[in-house]
Each structure stands twice: as structure tokens, then as C-alpha cells.
Amino acid sequence: MTDISTASSSVTPDWTVQTPHRAKRERAEKRFRAYGIVAISIAVAFLASMLLTIFVGGMGAFTSSKIGLDITFNEEVIDPSGARDVSTFRDANYRPLISDALTEIFPEVTGRSEKRDLYKLVSSGAVYQLENMVTENPDLIGTTQRVWLTAGTDANLYLAGKVDQDVDESLRQLSSVQTGRIETLKSGGHIKTALNKSFFTNGDSREPEQAGILGALLGSFFSLLVCFVISFPLGVLTAVYLEEFARKNRLTDFIEVNINNLAAVPSIVFGLLGLAIFLNVFNLPRSTPLVGGMVLALMTLPTIIIASRAALRAVPPSVREAAIGLGASKVQTTFHHTVPLAMPGMLTGTIIGMAQALGETAPLLMIGMVAFIVDVPSSVVDTATSLPVQIFLWADNPEIGFREMTSAAIMVLLVFLVLMNLLAVLLRKKLERRW
């Protein structure tokens, strides 16, 4: 009591004087602030280094080396009968054309195994390139053309500078003789770098230079299509029921608890549900986007429901009152007035849910979408993988050529995710403008 009154009677402002106690508190304040900045910086730095690693590592996959050879489209080899029938073109063996062209440049190569090495400089997929050229334009037969063929796996890596020349020759994929030949080709103007079209047009392959993401992309597309067709209407209608129609009772409470808990169930468990119920009980086709999409739909449902409910709640009650005041029924009010107004918000939530589904991997592994599939799927019941599963498969592949492909596939996946999220942001902006 006494000390308080003395303190207040001596009015000498002392807050500009640095006492040790105050200095200590100030340091603590600065330290605490720094912790926050450090924490954020770590997260941002991690993100940056991850994206940078992937970007730097994956750029190479978008280009590939081509070897230019003067191919003589020998009629003897392609179409000895001269019938010019497409099926003959398909059956023909184009290997000798490439071998001949190579032998022309390297006439000194004679031994059997030597020759086999030489031919490996060109990708084994190059024959399809020739086949397609002939099928499209049979007049090529009998002519000689400079054709740019995809380089073989090892030649490609060497030309991209990905082969460590310090490694002992016996451990290298390419012998010094082979690299010498590549250099010869290079100085002869037989090598160029071009866009790696096959990356976007092919399915998976054992050879990295022939592998592409089209199959996985379409697998993802079909899965998302199924996912959307199921989860969007179900999610929106569930939200409409819970927000506009349901009375608060045990059943609706139970539904809500279920939705909240489903949102937190580990994704792999949904995969097991798909395996046990969709595949084993209903006997739906394994490894297909149909089942994949169904599993993803169940996973996405909570996201869509929660977002749709928020969107419905944001519609002002005056809209409902106005409609009901005009004699509209509950159903009419909801579907003519409330739902259309909430639609942008619902779509935003759906797109975000779809983006999550696009990146989902684990449940798809459970239903067999993890097989090695070369063919590009053309419907929801064809066997397929998906983009993230393809990434998983390639990341697991020890061959060095696939590492680049993995990063490149991740880049494609991230581009799609960014686009979807941008779309969601734009929709949200549009929504905000309304009220």
C-alpha cells in the first residue's frame, strides 16, 4: 500500500532508460519474432529446393537426342510383293534399314557383337517411326531420306552429359569405342536435339527414351471423370439435404459425424475398401480407371460436401424468403434459387477435391492400377495407371534414364494441379464479387 503511493507520487518517466530487465525483455521479443521468420523460411526453402531439384532434374526429359540417318526405303525389305498394302507395311521389319544406314557411316564395324553395339545407338523404338512414315506416305518406298531417329537410351544419356566419364570403362554402359562413334556422328552433323514428342504421345515403356506419360495422363483423366460424375452430384445433393432439408436429429448428426471422420481416414484404407468391395464383391475390372475413380469419389466426397455446405450457408436467407413468399415450394426454392447461387462455391470445392484426387496414389496401388501398362487407355474399363502412380513406378526404376522422366512427370502433374487451383481461385474471386 505504502510503496504504491510513493511510486505514484514520484512522477519521473523512466521508460527511455534501458534497465537490464527491459533489455532482456526486448531481446526475448526479438528472439521470438526471429523464430517465426526462421520457421517460415525453412518451409519456404524446402519447397523451393524441392521444386528446383525437380525442375532442374526434369527439364532434360522434354528434349531428346536424334540421330540423322540417310535411310534408303528399300522395297525389297518393306514390300517385296509391291502390293502397297498397309498390313504389309505393318508386318515389315525395318531394322535392316537402320542397320544399313549405320553401316554406311561406320563401314569398319564388322563383328557380330560389334555391330549389335553399333545398332544400339539408335533406339529400338525407331522402327515404329519408319513404319509410320511409310504407312502415311507409301511413295517413300524406293527413295533415300534423311530421317531423324530417336537415339538409344545410353547414347541419349551420353549426349545429355549425364554419363560420368571418370567412371572406369568396364562399369560404363557405353564403351569408349561407342562414345567415339557418337562423337563421329556429332561432328558429321548427324546429331541434333529436339523436343521429345514421344514423352507426350507414348504409354509406358521399358526403354526410357520411348516411355511417355500419355497412358498415365489418360488414366488420370478417366479416373477423375468417373470420380467427378459420382462425387459431384452426390456431394452437392448431400450438402443440400443437410443444409436445407434435414431436421436436426440423430440421423443427420450421425451423417455429419461420418462425413467428418471420413475426411480423416487414411487414403490407403479407401484403397482396401475398393479392393474388398468393388473388386472382390462386385467383381469390377481390376486396374481400371472405373474402380480407381469410384474409390477417389468416396475420398473426395467429404471435401465436396463440406465446401458445398459452406457455399449454401453463404446464400443470404432473404433469397429463400423471397422465393417462399412467392409461393415456391421448398424443393423449388432450393433448386431454382439457392443452389444456382451457391454453385460457384460448390464448383470451387469440387475442383479442389478433384485436385486432391489427381495427386492421390496410395489407394490406386491397392486396386491394381500399378501394373506396367504400355497401351494407352481409351475408356474407363481399360487397364491403366495414373500420373502419380506412374511417377511412383518410374521413381522405383533404378535405370538412370527414368530419373529424368520421373521429374518431368512430376512437373506435368504439378502444372495440372496449379491450373486446377488457379481455376478454383478464379471461381472464388467471381463468387466474392457477387455479395
Binding site: F46, I54, V265, P266, T361, A362, V389, L413
Partner: protein
């Protein structure tokens, strides 16, 4: 008469539509039932072959099927303990990373940062949350694990190429945005008047945060961390790609461990017949995983709800 008729038919349509909507809503319940039913049914078949006590308490996990009948351990060993410790070890490492980073960034963003910085950092954190886990797995296996191994051997440690540390670290970063956004919600729910009271009597901002805001938000933060832990326990791809397959009963973060999710993936990918213990074991693990995460979620949501009610 006519009026009454149209009205009653209209009413009937309304009722039919309402019922249809109710059916749509019940899909959520059906999904839960489907999950529980499939897990319980297959797990039950598993427990007919392997006893529950062995599953829960045996320290060995080696589900390989014998090539020859007389091979040692032909029936395989199905003790979930090494998987559980592996899962908990990695989740623990992840939370050791994610809890401070997420919490401190949430505090900085909600209490200190300018609106401009917040508008930049929040989308970046959301981006971190939006990156598929398979990408994190790739980065963990390809970049983080080798770095950890190199650093370890530089300091004289023997670290396996697939270590709990690498997987846990990367998983921790992945969970940062989750922790940060959940605790951001919680911290914002602490009434401004408490901050005013503290600042009004001359507390610094950090004193206010440490002594008033955080203690007030503690239950909510605990709930958020539980949710994040449950997420870490159920995470699959990072551990599949970076943690390894070795079922070792160890708490050494430098060793390779395996987790429940890794084993589910391993047991169920590839050609599988649907009656051997090996395949069914995956469902037993999944049932265990589902139960654990469900309990964590229910507790966490309860805590967070109660916390938010306290300040409404």
C-alpha cells in the same frame, strides 16, 4: 378439390425428392460401413489363421510365404509391434519437425506479419499442402536420404540409405501447412480482448503470446497436433518410397524401419491370392490403423470443438 389434389401431388413429389436427398446423404454412412465391414471381415479371416495375441504382441514380422514346405518360419511371423514402432518413430520425427515449424509460422503469420507478407506466405504454405505425397516421397528418397547419409558418414555415423529420419523429416515438412492452418484457426479464436488486456498493462507482444494467447489456445493446439499426428500415421507414399521394408523393433532414427502402411502396400501389390494369411494380414493391419486414426480424430475433434465453444 382440384386445388387440394395438386397440392397433395406436389407434396408427394416434395417428399420423394427429400427422400432421394436423404439417400444421397446416406452414402457417407454406407462408405463407413463398407470400410468397417471389409476390414473386419477380412481381418476376421486372418485371425482364424493367426491368433490376435500373436498379432498384437509378437515382436516379429516376416510375412514371407515359404518356397519349400520344410523351410524355417514357413508360416511367417505376424507381429504388428515392429510396424507399430516404425510408424510411431516416423510420426514422432515428423511431429518434432512439424509442430514447432507449423506453430511458429502460424503465430508469426497471425500475430506479427504484415498483411502483405501474409498474402504471400499463406499461398506458399497451401502449395506445400497441395503437392502430392508421391512427390515428397520421390524427393525424400532421391535427395534427402542421400544428404542425410552423407552428413552421417561425414560425422562417423553409419546411416542406411532408407532411414526413418529421411522419411520423418520430409513428412514433417509436408505436415507443416496442416499444423499451421489448424493452429492459425485456433489462435485467431482467442479473443482480442485478452491480447488487449495483456498489452494494456505493458506486456510485450511475445509475452502476450507466450503467457496469454498460447495458454488460452492450448487445448485447441493440442487437438490440432493430434489431427496432424493421425495424418502422419496414415501417410503412405513417403514411407513407401523412403522408409524401407525392414521390420525392425528399433527406435533408432538412423536405421531403416517399416510402417503399417508400407506393409499394406507391400502385401497387396503384385499377384495376390485372397486366402493366404499374408494378404489377409494387410486387412488386419489396416483395421488397426483405421481404429488408431479414428480414435485420434474423434478425440482431437472433441477437444477442438470444446475449445471453440469456450470462446463463442
Amino acid at each position: 378439390m382440384l386445388l387440394r389434389e395438386t397440392r397433395s401431388s406436389k407434396k408427394l413429389t416434395e417428399q420423394a425428392i427429400t427422400f432421394g436427398l436423404l439417400l444421397c446423404s446416406s452414402v457417407a454412412i454406407l462408405t463407413t460401413i463398407g470400410i468397417v465391414a471389409s476390414l473386419v471381415f477380412e481381418a476376421f479371416r486372418f485371425f482364424q489363421q493367426v491368433s490376435i495375441t500373436e498379432f498384437l504382441f509378437s515382436p516379429d514380422w516376416s510375412p514371407q510365404t515359404a518356397i519349400r514346405d520344410d523351410q524355417v518360419g514357413a508360416s511367417g511371423a505376424f507381429g504388428v509391434l515392429p510396424l507399430l514402432t516404425g510408424t510411431l518413430l516416423i510420426s514422432f520425427i515428423a511431429m518434432v519437425i512439424a509442430a514447432p515449424l507449423g506453430l511458429l509460422s502460424a503465430i508469426y503469420l497471425s500475430e506479427y506479419s504484415s498483411a502483405r507478407l501474409r498474402n504471400w506466405v499463406k499461398p506458399i504454405l497451401e502449395l506445400l499442402a497441395g503437392i502430392p505425397t508421391v512427390v515428397y516421397g520421390f524427393f525424400a528418397a532421391l535427395v534427402v536420404a542421400p544428404i542425410i547419409r552423407a552428413t552421417g558418414s561425414g560425422m562417423g555415423f553409419e546411416i542406411s540409405s532408407e532411414s526413418a529420419l529421411a522419411a520423418g523429416l520430409v513428412m514433417g515438412i509436408m505436415i507443416v501447412p496442416l499444423v499451421s492452418s489448424l493452429s492459425d484457426d485456433v489462435i485467431s479464436a482467442v479473443p482480442q480482448s485478452l491480447r488487449d488486456a495483456s498489452m494494456g498493462m505493458g506486456a510485450t507482444q511475445s509475452e502476450t503470446i507466450k503467457r496469454v494467447v498460447l495458454p488460452a489456445a492450448l487445448p485447441g493446439i493440442a487437438g490440432s497436433l493430434l489431427l496432424a499426428t493421425s495424418r502422419a500415421i496414415g501417410e503412405t507414399m513417403i514411407v513407401v518410397m523412403a522408409a524401407g521394408l525392414a521390420a525392425k523393433l528399433t527406435l533408432n532414427p538412423l536405421e531403416a524401419v517399416t510402417t503399417m502402411t508400407v506393409q499394406i502396400v507391400t502385401l497387396l501389390t503384385g499377384d495376390t491370392s485372397f486366402d493366404d494369411a499374408k494378404t489377409l494380414a494387410a486387412f488386419a493391419i489396416a483395421l488397426f490403423l483405421f481404429t488408431v486414426t479414428l480414435i485420434l480424430n474423434v478425440i482431437a475433434l472433441k477437444i477442438v470443438d470444446r475449445f471453440k465453444e469456450a470462446y463463442d
